[in-house]
Symmetry: D2
Subunit: 450 residues, 4 copies
């Protein structure tokens, strides 16, 4: 594999994209995105696809909300498969199921929209434009659920285009171009980055790492990134972790903490990268820093407070006793989170409740209530430790009454954990968490299977 | 768009591929490609997709023909959509066609094979391996047409993966890495490259150009390339064009001749790049060399001799008169192609017959007999000139009785020509070719519509 | 010339430098910079130069001020040419001057120090280390002028190493790595950059440019950079130029303003790059932005206030009349610079005095008093316009009583201007400045030759 | 250190060089290289150095031999230091030697030629042009020794410009650009490369390596390169080493054989890189291929046959006995080198004579007769083994009567060996070679000190 030729080769993509930027819109002869879209799927599209695609992207950019809605409506109604053809093919298949009738049915079902988006991608910068287009579509979907079929087709394409095999992992550091770093600041969704000094601290090669996935056709824009701290021991609190001066002891850090994972592209919602990112970073870090023994997250618990407050308000909670509800009233008091007395009072109860929340509270489909838990457990991590107080920032209190947890990524257990979770809905947790959850807070709850 | 960051970013792909090459096959614990393939689509595949994918690729590489056939058979029979589910969905849709029943039908039809290949692509080097896999599959298809559904699924994926938006045009010159150049020598399919000196002449920046399409995930391997000569006038003969010393007059060449286009990847058969390649090169060359006025091919006519010999052997040809058949007997004589007398004798007749062949001889579907003609006319070129003798090499004589033709790419007519051809099957030709074809060689033929 | 190979090639330099950073100091056996320096010039240095050089750089880094002084003293006294040998060679040359005795004299004069520094440069990162070393030396020189011969030798080497032919011009923009941008903020010496937002505005591609010279062996560190604004008309005031929102009219800017030039490396003091930088940027900008007609600076006048205050204090100024001195007393008043009345009062007088200052006030060697004037006039620019008030910042008032000027770089006059200045000491100025200077403020001054 | 920024940075050098190539010579107003050279050192040169430099290079390229001679003569006579000034400075220094009179003398001796070449280097592509210029000069020197002072000045500059700290080591392999590889074929000076297939074999990553030094300003052209074979045991014969199919046993090769080192630039004759190259490659290989234990050359002995034939012809050789002379007559017979009998007869005698040649035959200055021996011994290698027959090619027979030797580079002994050689002229040899040399072939020779 030839590095330098490859590099030059890819510069061409960049040049092509630049050409787009420089391109003046020309005569503007046709500014009607809907009409152009029709042409793209017609004969003209076969011979002049790239030019038409570019005109559509230009025209689309000038559309207002109503224009965009009309555009997507057209895609939804006019570019769908031909119902009659599908009906006939379906009937033929029903009558005599064979590989050839199956094939015919499949062909009849092929959505012209997918071909439309494939051709739209011929334009320089097309991929990025389609991702932005889907951002708009997701907004419109809330009020126009009938556009969902359009989204389905885009998602199907994105599943192929953003295949993990095409993603590129890159370390982000202080020698990364400023425009990329600016986006890291802007996209950070978990623990806000307060300006360039804060960012520089988070990229300090001594004890920090940051990695992002990129796609060759979206080169300026990371897809997802993760921030890592290299430390000695599994941390229980975000406070101090982010702002900490590097400790001398981290010359041979034993623990890598994933303390923030942020998706960057709204237009790629539902296309999952986080699982791959974490595992790749674990692999790379293990090689780069051989002293590392433990790979662990320090994660928020965004659903905890809502659940807790629900139980507190419930007329007859099966989880909380009246005295416990009384204790939890402290959470409504001013200044409790800076008062050592009240913190001490709350701690044992909240830790038990957290363990209960993770291990026993489930959604209808048997999965845990907490979305972050679903993500990490689905990846094969195990719930390692309950930390309280872990995040006493206003946001940490509002979302999780101060709670944070660690999920452990142990390469040798990931597959087994994933299977236990995916097959049997089992929340894999460390013995200490399991023990916490077994405090018999409610006789009415079934015993935990573990 | 940031060039240097982009470059580094893409190096990561290279590194990942290298990692694969360096990878020893490990314990070889599981060497059963079929069993591994099943696991890739199971729970394990969700959490350990990249590792399983790599193991499958390793195992596949060690399969013999029988093993490969078994592997594809398994994909064909076990990884197809669930017929019952499709039947039910088809019936539900037939009863009440709606967007939701359509969606359900579409989901039921989704082939697990596509998901299989998507996951296979998680492995470093996966894309290249799947292209190679399809090479094997195409070989097997000849005797095992039942594997066609597997190929359909790969083609569907390749249509997304090798979208023109992801292809990169690169100029090939004497500073291109030797391993790439070696492949150019090896892949040249039209006019064989006789070693490195011949290649160097074909890359001489003074009056030659060579361009290739690459894909970010197949970086060592061009997908398709075209060779161009910059000359003064439209050439009629390949002899001399390739070996010519550069003429001084080409300081401001007026004509770019596309004299060879070669596909490189058998595994990408049917995924069309040539159309895009020619148009992109026309655009780029027009900018780089402003003196160029004419973009034209010098093309072989691979079907001409077979058609001609058929007519000669036919009992009562509607095309050839007995005296013409007598004249054409010269083609069977030893040494005719070096004898000025006989060449002179044959010329007018063969030129007329060539024009007839292109404009009046059609396949059942109304398209011209000649495959190269179908390609260029389908791209919107016009048949510009009949050249005889154009190629008196053994191959040129065997395929085309010495005939070559030029197709003209005139940017302002491409769309119109394409439409005339695609919509009405009309072979767009220059007035001189049309005139040649009007020689009334057979009263029985219908008049040409033009 | 092969771009991609070149790129890979140079990566090797980077890798070598990185290797240095990663290098642990090993046995640390010898930590004595002075002793190691002796060895570097001995037999050992011939075979183990790179290793010894590296050890010296490591040892030097740990020296305190006294240690550094001792180190340079040793270089000064021990590594000088052999006086006796020089004496003998000088006498031989005196007796019989010939090419061979000249050669022998030249050899005798060759300073071992130069060989020492050449060998020191064998170490990875050596060039940068020697530049830092000279920073220390320049500090020491103030109190230890006897070290000047050491500096002479370094300057001689730097003259070869930092030859303009080896310098690389690079545009600095928002996609430049953050670590380089951080240095731009830090090195800006004329108009301070207030953080990343200010920097981003100064790099806005719409109407700003920034260029820097780099050296292949000092790749992280710019040598010198210039900031440019693209505007319509020659500006007279820095206020507003830097903070200005981009005006719509700059779609086709006519004027490029060089408003800040900063040297970055103290250790390269006296090695001149500014002349080359400005001319290269003029050339490149003229090509990139064809609408540009005028290349001009907006420059500070660091010597004006000191000269003016001197004249004001002088018992009988030949330049200032008593009434003028009275008017200038306004400069000592609080708040004059925000008072339109007083500004109006001062303006004509200060403009005349400025013209006088530039055109008539000279140093002993006939050159103008003002150092910035010497730089630009020496480059072949002409003094184009007096601007008052041009810079009413505290610094602008303290240095130049608010004065700024424009120097014009007109490619077709540069050579002629340079010659007039270098040959005859003539300050080339625009007619309007000349006219201002001719106001007969002092009968005693000789008439201006122009 | 920032890799990608660095890469872009250096592309600028390439672009600048390309600009030169593209540059039309303009009005050709001044085509007189000598006159332009004068201007370059004048006032004009200060302000328009880069342009003048480029014009000189263009004009020089068009000079014929006589023109070049005139050009160098002018440099020799007109651009030398001012003799009177040197005389005065020399006298002043003689009278009162001080740092200030030394400095003045040194300044007086500064050759304007050096400044001339420094300014010539301002032109894009200047460095390469000056290297080519010196090629011409070295040719002329043979008949015009008076030009030596010009060469001295160039050599002095090259010593700074081509400092090892600025050189870049690059591996040459099959993915290296073809234009570079073509130069490797062309520059190979020891064992001719017979076309691209031979080259490919010599770059086979399985058991071959090739490394070259490059300079940032001479990027298309290697300075020196070395070819290495990775094998099991120290080889004694070149035959087979080069053409050998890779043996399976080289999975963990124990021995790296440097079998060819070629300088590439005649214009850099006398600027030594080989020493650095070998040591760097030893270091890099030791890291890359940990199984390597021995680093050894397989070297020609270019002076052996001439010495041997001299002794044979000498009336009363002190080295050869009459019977030995008789035996050696076999060397004049047809076909001896393919006849096992005669080879067997010659072997013991030639091996002894070879050991004698290396250890006892010295030049006037005490160094060994053989130039290759002087190079490797001077680098700190030891003479490891005498191989006969080692090279029975026509060249090997003509130069060395079939002899080849190995020099051993043992990192831990290099410094010591170098010292022994440089300080005491001792040829460090392995015990077996020493033993061979002790065969008492001449009672009159003094005993070897070892």
């Amino acid at each position: 594999m030839n590095v330098s030729f490859f590099r030059e080769l890819l510069d061409s993509i960049v040049d092509r994209s630049r050409a787009l930027t420089a391109l003046t819109l020309g005569n503007g002869a046709n500014d009607d995105a809907v009409e152009l879209a029709r042409q793209l799927l017609s004969r003209r599209g076969e011979s002049s696809g790239a030019i038409l695609a570019q005109q559509i992207l230009n025209a689309y950019r000038r559309l207002d909300q109503a224009g965009k809605l009309a555009f997507f409506n057209m895609l939804s109604t006019d570019f769908m498969p031909d119902t009659n053809a599908v009906l006939q093919a379906a009937e033929r298949f029903s009558k005599s199921p064979s590989s050839s009738t199956l094939r015919a049915l499949s062909t009849a079902l092929d959505s012209p929209r997918q071909e439309f988006f494939r051709r739209l991608n011929f334009a320089p910068g097309g991929t990025q434009a389609i991702v932005r287009m889907r951002e708009d579509l997701l907004d419109l979907l809330k009020e126009h659920p009938d556009l969902r079929a359009v989204d389905d087709d885009i998602v199907h394409l994105f599943g192929s285009w953003f295949n993990r095999g095409f993603l590129v992992l890159r370390r982000i550091d202080w020698s990364t171009p400023a425009d990329i770093l600016e986006k890291i600041i802007q996209y950070e969704a978990v623990h806000e980055i307060n300006g360039w000094d804060d960012l520089k601290r988070r990229l300090d090669p001594h004890d920090r790492r940051c990695y992002a996935f990129f796609h060759p056709s979206l080169v300026d824009d990371p897809l997802i990134f993760v921030e890592v701290a290299l430390v000695d021991d599994v941390p229980g609190s975000i406070d101090g972790l982010i702002t900490a001066e590097a400790a001398a002891s981290t010359e041979a850090p034993r623990t890598a903490v994933f303390y923030s994972i942020s998706n960057c592209q709204k237009g790629l919602a539902g296309i999952s990268f986080g699982n791959f990112l974490i595992k790749q970073v674990v692999t790379d870090l293990a090689r780069e820093v051989p002293s590392l023994r433990t790979f662990v997250t320090l994660s928020p618990v965004p659903g905890f407070r809502a659940w807790l407050d629900g139980e507190r308000r419930r007329e007859s909670s099966e989880v909380l006793s009246p005295s416990e509800i009384a204790t939890l009233a402290v959470l409504d008091e001013e200044g409790w989170h800076t008062d050592p007395e009240r913190l001490k009072l709350l701690k044992p109860l909240l830790c038990e409740l957290a363990a209960h929340y993770f291990l026993r509270e489930k959604r209808a489909n048997g999965q845990p209530l907490d979305p972050v838990a679903r993500f990490h457990l689905g990846n094969g991590a195990r719930l390692e430790r309950i930390n309280w107080p872990g995040d006493l920032s206003p946001r940490g209190i509002a979302q999780a009454a101060g709670l944070m947890v660690n999920y452990l990524y142990d390469p040798k257990d990931i597959e087994k954990n994933h299977e236990a979770y995916a097959e049997h809905g089992r929340v894999v947790a460390s013995p200490s968490v399991v023990k916490l959850s077994k405090v018999n807070r409610s006789k009415r709850l079934p015993a935990l299977a573990s």
